[in-house]
Point group: C2
Chain length 329, copies 2
């Protein structure tokens, strides 16, 4: 496993330093380098704060900027940020309208964000949205995991906050979205965590892992590798079955790479998913294809389907200016 | 080698179909699906047309849109588009002010673009810029290769064309840039071309290939793999030595991933390159970090340094709206 790094212990910090330097007009380190924040905050806007383990880049630091997040806290690889980091982000970015914490549904993340919320509650209005979009489940205590759909929830809530929505309305928006966003992933190759240098699961030359998450955890089932059409249609079928009755709405189709899959393969998969959905009477109204929610350099992809109202679609279309997501209008 | 595909023969076409569908508000197929073009052309603007082999995505199709290219022609993997494709793009996108062809310096590309220019010359004003930014050389006939610096030349020329520059001025801009843009790449893993399913070079667990291009061709030298600081400083040292005397100018630093390297490693490398340049008295004024000019899923990266005038820097900052590159202002 060859990586561009100097030492395992310093790689996350060195990478963040380069990231902040490359985007210095947009973002800055918060106090003590505990988090990354927008360079300029908007007074009176609800602060949107997210975070999670490193190894999922560009999520979440790449989503900090006008139209999306105010701050993102990064932990060690595949490890939640500490409550201390999250409290520091709350204290620095709450300009009076409170904070909404955006959390992916993993035990460690939920625990640390809840602890931070309690620690800061005396001086800040705080609420939390826990994203749960994975068709495949995590541990029994955890339930559905938060995966690529997190990007969609953060984009919509970020846009709504920019429009002046209040904390309770943003919380309701996030909770409502959880019922209408579903994702499922497939891996063609496992992922080696730098600390251990061992792959979390090892696939044979003719195997793939269906239902994987974004931490190298094994998926629902190991299956024979097959062509892109069969793989992508299987993902879409599982998503539609899990979403249940789909009310008439605007479908947002998001094909996400896990880090080691080049964009032409993602676009090829997108074309298959789109035709499949359309054949099921679901026209695709908005699209996103790219490497946004990763599992280090894992070869694989996920398909996310979000069924959005017209108002939510307008939030998706709203301008955004971050390192990873830019939209002119 | 597991890839998301249905068949080797159809993978480029299927991927392009998904790409055009995902970005249908911005782009469209040209006649006969021979190229990708902006959905809306600007009458009286010089048409900027590029192209090259598939396998380098998002270049060049990802650079089609307002502020950058008008059309891009894609060949088979690592194979030039045919003169027929290029002529079709010229005929469809020349709105009266002529066409500038943007070509990376490879024998096959140069030959086919020149042939297309001759075929279309009777009815169209045509000129050509051949990008040559690689510190490492290709074949004897070829000289310097065109690699990641191509993105910078296409962005600046695209912005200048948008501002109403004439064909001869765009040609002069491109030729002038060739003297002030230098790139060098390193691979940690070779690349397997789908047709042959064999890696073009095989690296040991402790080896890296310095001076690689973007077609899986071997580089200048095989060296012992080492830490990121030593690798990146070696690339920067070679670039500065090759560029020669650097006039006072605005430095644009671009760290580009070859397809299989996750963004945190690119940002870590960026931080090293930036500090190194600043220690040599070259402050970095503009930055780009990401996976833009690829060699399928090769693990590796390149560093590009461009020394820009103030006018060129303003062109870099100009708005652009493409699938791969978006800038608000």
């Amino acid at each position: 496993m060859k990586k561009f790094m100097n030492a395992v212990d310093s790689m996350v910090a060195e990478s963040l330093e380069g990231f902040v330097a490359a985007h210095e007009q947009l973002i800055a380190f918060g106090a003590g380098r505990k988090f990354v924040r927008r360079r300029t905050l908007t007074t009176g806007k609800v602060a949107i704060i997210s975070g999670g383990g490193a190894g999922h880049e560009p999520m979440h630091t790449g989503f900090v900027g006008p139209g999306m997040l105010d701050a993102a806290c990064t932990g060690h690889i595949f490890t939640s940020p500490t409550p201390d980091q999250i409290v520091a982000a709350i204290e620095e970015t709450d300009t009076g309208a409170g904070c909404l914490l955006m959390v992916k549904n993993y035990d460690g993340d939920v625990m640390n964000f809840e602890m931070a919320a309690e620690m800061a509650a005396a001086h800040h209005a705080i609420d939390m949205v826990v994203v749960k979009d994975d068709v495949a489940h995590g541990s029994r205590s955890q339930g559905r995991r938060g995966v690529a759909g997190t990007l969609i929830v953060e984009k919509l809530i970020g846009a709504s906050a920019e429009n002046g929505a209040k904390l309770q309305d943003l919380k309701a928006l996030g909770d409502g979205l959880n019922h209408r966003i579903r994702s499922m992933g497939v891996a063609l190759r496992g992922v080696a965590v730098p600390n251990t240098r061992r792959e979390t699961f090892v696939l044979g030359a003719d195997e793939m892992e269906m239902g994987v998450g974004i931490h190298g955890e094994p998926g629902r089932s190991r299956e024979a590798f097959t062509n892109a059409t069969e793989i992508v249609e299987a993902l879409c079928t599982a998503i539609l079955a899990d979403m249940g009755e789909v009310a008439p709405a605007n479908a947002l189709l998001f094909v996400n790479g896990f880090g080691g899959t080049p964009s032409p393969e993602l676009y090829l998969a997108y074309g298959i998913a789109r035709r499949f959905l359309e054949s099921r009477g679901i026209p695709v109204s908005r699209s996103l294809v790219g490497t946004y929610v990763t599992s280090l350099d894992m070869a694989g992809l996920s398909v996310t389907l979000a069924m959005l109202t017209d108002a939510e679609t307008a939030l998706w279309d709203a301008p955004v200016s971050t390192a990873a997501l830019n939209r002119l209008r």
